[in-house]
């Protein structure tokens, strides 16, 4: 099906839209860096409880898009709303409160080098007292989050003592500790070997089952997309070029869509 811009669009299936409640809405998002127009009117919607994968080539603006979503970058124009709140209209305090409901797994894990694993996990707990109240003993919460990722024994280690996969798991535990309603994954499997990648993907699935979160996964890893996605959006030339399930998109004959799935 061709839309007005002549872009290839798959028929959206309502059955894949979780409960139908919109948790993230992006409309006509534009962002440029000098003459480099990274996002040229990108639009997408994430529904409550669903796993949405946004796929695109390196440098296509995937990471820029999610950074705009949490207010780490300012969009040039467009509408960005998370749980009904438009990001650009929020003051710092409201944005911080909203961020406590959004988990963000960074591409390189982004663990604080100067802190132990335990301190890394305690950091967001101490920063969101409005949401969690005054916590006297953070240890049970830290332990629970680490047990969920299978790394309870690493509590007193420094990030430099962990492997790449372990760092990613600890980062995931840090994301989970605030019990977010939405998790944004920025290339969750990049830089990991295939076995560790599979473990991380499995962990992401378990987390979604356990916490009932909505997940927006940014990746260029087709295997990751195949296993975890309920719906996919392909980001090409700064716009949402195609949208549908993995099965639908992988059977597409459009050359730009095919390029993603060629082995």
């Amino acid at each position: 099906m061709m839309d007005m811009k002549g872009q290839y669009q798959m028929v959206k299936q309502d059955s894949l839209r979780g409960t139908g409640e919109v948790v993230i809405e992006i409309r006509d998002l534009r962002k440029s860096f000098g003459d480099n127009h990274v996002l040229n009117g990108f639009s997408m919607t994430l529904y409550k409880g669903e796993n949405l994968v946004v796929m695109g080539k390196s440098g296509s603006g995937k990471s820029v898009m999610i950074k705009c979503l949490v207010g780490l970058m300012l969009a040039d124009s467009g509408f960005l709303a998370v749980m009904g709140k438009e990001i650009k209209t929020l003051d710092r305090k409201t944005l911080d409160a909203l961020r406590s409901d959004i988990g963000f797994l960074f591409q390189g894990s982004a663990l604080y080098d100067s802190m132990t694993v335990r301190e890394n996990l305690e950091f967001p707990l101490r920063r969101h007292k409005e949401k969690l109240g005054e916590i006297k003993d953070t240890l049970p919460l830290v332990q629970e989050a680490l047990e969920n990722v299978g790394l309870a024994h690493t509590m007193d280690l420094m990030p430099s003592e962990l492997s790449g996969g372990m760092k990613r798991r600890v980062a995931l535990a840090r994301t989970l500790i605030l019990k977010p309603k939405i998790i944004l994954y920025d290339e969750p499997t990049s830089g990991l070997d295939p076995i560790t990648s599979k473990e991380i993907i499995q962990l992401m699935r378990n987390i979604q089952k356990m916490y009932g979160t909505s997940s927006l996964i940014i990746t260029h890893d087709v295997d990751c997309a195949r296993v975890i996605s309920e719906r996919m959006v392909l980001l090409v030339d700064g716009v949402n070029y195609a949208e549908g399930t993995y099965e639908e998109l992988s059977k597409s004959t459009d050359p730009k869509v095919e390029a993603f799935f060629k082995k």
Binding site: L72, R92, D96, A97, R99, F106, Y112, D113, P124, R127
Partner: protein
């Protein structure tokens, strides 16, 4: 033509950087008294900066005191003015050499450390992670570090000055049979408020400059891991140069108030 263009571009870049640094300083003053005060992190930074620099400052101060006395001694003897040694060394160390040398050492030690630390936090997205965690990274990382250097440098200067005077006293004691008590009595007799106050005030500005430049270079570091090295390197160079500018202004202003 190409040379003129390059020069203009470099000048433009220089003024842009000066403007950005001024804006960064203004942002510091805007944020410094806003709650939360991040007192725990401030104390941690004070401890790290003071503790890690104290041996370096002490050793350098001691050697400066020794060398200054050893090298001045023959000249003063020639003029029969060797008894003026404590006055000369005391005033020169307290007024100028102590603060400047300590500040230069700290520029190398602290500014590069801050530049590299914040630079690596920037490229590994730790600063972004902090922001997403609901923390103002400027307040948590920058304000605490600049405040810590501003507070710690005068303490390090006093420590460095004291050790330098001990070094000088040791030479006088060994070569001139001057007791430590007599040496220090002469030094304190020679020193006036006009020597101590400007030197101490100047040290706060030195500390502020070191923290400001280190944080600015690290916080805005670019170009991936290579950028971390550039941030550390330029932090030292810029901080060292700025220290002399600040020193010149401080001496100029002191001259007006204290008629040096």
């Amino acid at each position: 033509m190409a040379y003129a263009y390059r020069t203009t571009e470099k000048l433009k870049q220089f003024f842009v950087e000066v403007g950005e640094l001024a804006y960064f300083a203004m942002r510091y003053f805007k944020e410094v008294l806003k709650p939360p005060l991040e007192f725990k992190e401030l104390l941690r930074q004070c401890y790290h900066m003071g503790n890690r620099s104290i041996i370096l400052v002490g050793v350098t101060g001691f050697i400066i005191g020794l060398v200054l006395t050893l090298q001045s001694r023959p000249t003063l003897m020639e003029f029969g003015a060797v008894s003026w040694m404590p006055n000369m060394v005391g005033i020169s160390i307290v007024r100028e050499i102590g603060p400047v040398i300590t500040a230069l050492i700290c520029a190398g030690r602290i500014a590069s450390g801050i530049g590299a630390e914040l630079g690596s936090m920037r490229v590994t997205e730790q600063i972004d992670a902090m922001e997403v965690s609901g923390t103002n990274p400027f307040k948590y990382l920058v304000v605490t570090r600049i405040t810590a250097t501003t507070l710690m440098l005068p303490i390090l200067v006093v420590f460095g000055d004291t050790i330098a005077l001990y070094g000088s006293a040791l030479v006088e004691n060994l070569k001139g049979d001057v007791s430590f008590q007599l040496y220090f009595n002469t030094v304190f007799d020679a020193l006036e408020f006009g020597d101590l106050i400007p030197a101490t005030v100047k040290s706060f500005f030195f500390g502020f400059t070191i923290g400001l430049v280190g944080c600015y270079k690290g916080y805005y570091s670019k170009k991936g891991t290579a950028g971390v090295g550039i941030a550390a390197n330029t932090a030292v160079v810029t901080a060292s140069l700025l220290l002399f500018v600040v020193d010149f202004i401080a001496v100029f202003v002191s001259d007006i108030f204290y008629d040096l």
